[in-house]
């Protein structure tokens, strides 16, 4: 464990160096090319880390390299860099234009602007992004590792016929997803448009941001621990649906908030000055104006939650209903060395995934994301409202 941690810290430092370097360079490339690179990066940065981790680990296993976090923590660099570079670019971009113009007008060169102005102003945000993506990356690698362990060491015998009582998942996930969307939309609207000035704003804000920054593995393991503690056998349809709701909720609430934040505060103010109440302003002005981004962001949140959720469904299936698992999942590879502190018990005899004790690495991931959220920059909407 300590060895692995040290290597992970090193890997994270390397990722930060690469990401900051690339992002700073991006600030200086000419408009057209920069825009293109930025778009590519933006696309790469929205792919959930678990997907990148799966791709990388699969490719490495296929080419015969020992591919697991335990064996090679530098894998973290590959998984973290795309997301972190995109976030750094966004952070620098937010800080840069006004500062850069002012400094350039005073005769500063672009390198000295980057080093003396942009980097210091963006430091807390970059630190937050680094911790968050580090936690996400580590979580994703561990998840794929679990998936490999579960699928790779399975006896290839059918325990249950496919389509049997195995997974009545469809309707359950639909219900859980819809209910979650409804609740998160209300929460997002409340926080963004109704809670201003109330003493609840900051804690709710922080909790939502934290929940959405938590690596999916944390939810999965805690859920398994809770379900096991209540005496039931974890990978069943209702806990899978619950996991989906847990993964979707915070992302959806954040999506709604960001969509509402695209409506400038000056519009809300104009509406209030004409005698509209908060509710009327929301209904007749803010919601119509935010509808398009809201659909776009919510779709993104939905896709992301689904992609993050699937590996756990696969793990659950591999453990309890191996025959129901598509064969391509099984080809993900076998070269997984179990980490100390995070063990899958008795996979060979195919009992359910049992983790009654929450492994320390989960607390570590949760702690990292909390610090990351605490370091994050003030959302634009809040800043505008205060000015």
């Amino acid at each position: 464990m300590p060895d692995m941690l040290g290597a992970a810290v090193l890997a994270l430092a390397a990722s930060v160096a690469i990401a900051v370097g690339v992002a700073l360079t991006l600030q200086r490339v000419p408009q057209g090319l920069g825009g293109l690179l930025r778009r590519v990066l933006g696309l790469a940065g929205t792919v959930p880390t678990v997907v990148i981790a799966a791709a990388v680990l699969t490719a490495l296993s296929a080419s015969g390299v020992a591919a697991s976090v335990g064996a090679n923590p530098m894998l973290l660099v590959v998984v973290v860099v795309p997301v972190l570079t995109m976030q750094c670019d966004r952070i620098f971009h937010g800080v840069t234009p006004p500062l850069r113009d002012a400094a350039a007008a005073l005769g500063a060169g672009s390198l000295s602007i980057a080093l003396t102005l942009v980097l210091p102003a963006a430091l807390p945000a970059v630190a937050g992004a680094a911790l968050a993506s580090g936690a996400q990356g580590l979580g994703a690698l561990l998840t794929v590792g679990l998936l490999q362990a579960a699928t790779g060491s399975q006896p290839d015998t059918a325990l249950l016929s496919p389509g049997g009582e195995a997974f009545g998942l469809g309707p359950l996930v639909f219900i859980a997803g819809t209910a979650t969307l409804a609740v998160s939309t209300l929460v997002g609207i409340y926080v963004e448009d109704f809670a201003e000035g109330s003493s609840w704003t900051t804690p709710i804000d922080l909790v939502i941001a934290w929940l959405s920054a938590l690596p999916p593995l944390v939810y999965a393991v805690l859920l398994v621990a809770v379900v096991t503690a209540t005496g039931r056998t974890p990978p069943d349809a209702s806990s899978a649906a619950l996991l989906f709701a847990l993964l979707l909720g915070p992302h959806a609430a954040m999506a709604v908030r960001s969509a509402l934040a695209t409506v400038p505060a000056s519009l809300r103010e104009a509406s209030r000055a004409l005698g509209a109440s908060r509710r009327q302003t929301l209904r007749s002005l803010v919601l119509p104006a935010a509808a398009r981004p809201m659909v776009r962001y919510l779709t993104g949140a939905f896709t992301r939650a689904t992609l993050e959720w699937l590996p756990f469904v696969a793990i659950g299936m591999a453990v309890s209903h191996p025959s129901a698992l598509p064969s391509w999942v099984r080809t993900l590879g076998v070269r997984w060395m179990p980490l100390p502190g995070l063990q899958v018990h008795g996979l060979a005899t195919a009992p359910p995934l049992v983790m009654p004790v929450v492994p320390p690495v989960i607390w570590l991931l949760a702690g990292l994301s909390l610090v990351a959220v605490w370091l994050r920059p003030t959302p634009d909407s809040a800043r505008e409202r205060r000015s």
């Binding site: 103010e269 000055a273 109440s277 409202r385």
Partner: protein, 249 residues
């Protein structure tokens, strides 16, 4: 018609208004002048309670409109804002057409239920700001398509359509060219016949041109409030004289 009594407003820990007592009678134009940051906008935003949209605001003293405090629980803040219009240089256009902008306040008020009644109000208000002839053919065009001066008058017409008793103008001519500025000033002059106006301005000359009385604020305090002619000829305070003659501030 409007009195503030020892009004003190703290915004985010700053005392932006400090014990201001003002008396404004109906049908007059009161200019509020003073250097930047002296609390002019804060004063206007307190009078129609837009200030309470900000977090951490503390208000002491009282503001009375037609003799009744604007802070009584019986008075709905949305009704107050219809009776007391606030238009500033930075007031935003709402998304949509000129017509959307004009009818928004009418629609959310719940009065003027019929289309016909709303159209009459809209035409009256646009005529009042001398905008009707300029925009009557583009009522369904985007409001963004208007010139800066027209937009400024559109935001005024939008507020006037609600039939306010008191109109608060926060530097309404800021950033406009002399012709557009002149239009707004003549508009203020004619509007005075039927409503009361408080005009915040950074232009001392504008205050001299259009107002009946002038209030001079300095660091949140009211230095003096007298008939405009007196403020510009024989002010009671040395500070006022220095400010209006451009020797300080």
């Amino acid at each position: 018609m409007l009195e503030t009594e020892r009004l003190t407003v703290h915004v985010g820990g700053v005392r932006a208004i400090d014990g201001v007592s003002l008396n404004i009678s109906a049908g007059t134009v009161t200019a509020v002048i003073g250097p930047t940051g002296c609390g002019k906008s804060t004063l206007l935003r307190t009078i129609n309670r837009m200030i309470s949209l900000l977090p951490s605001v503390r208000i002491e003293g009282d503001v009375r409109l037609q003799g009744a405090s604007i802070f009584t629980s019986g008075l709905r803040v949305t009704d107050l804002r219809r009776r007391v219009g606030l238009v500033g240089a930075d007031t935003a256009l709402l998304p949509g057409t000129v017509m959307d902008n004009m009818t928004y306040g009418l629609r959310v008020s719940g009065q003027w239920r019929t289309e016909r009644a709303r159209l009459t109000r809209v035409e009256e208000a646009l005529r009042e700001v001398h905008l009707w002839d300029e925009v009557k053919d583009q009522l369904d065009g985007p409001a963004e398509g208007l010139t800066a001066g027209q937009r400024r008058r559109l935001t005024m017409a939008r507020a006037l359509a609600l039939g306010p008793e008191l109109l608060l103008l926060d530097d309404p001519a800021a950033g406009l060219d002399p012709v557009a500025t002149q239009r707004i000033e003549s508009l203020i002059y004619t509007l005075r016949q039927r409503l009361t106006i408080v005009l915040v301005t950074n232009s001392v000359r504008q205050a001299a041109r259009v107002s009946d009385q002038t209030a001079f604020l300095w660091l949140g305090r009211l230095v003096e409030c007298s008939p405009t002619a007196r403020v510009f000829t024989t002010p009671a305070e040395r500070l006022t004289e220095d400010y209006v003659t451009g020797r300080c501030g």
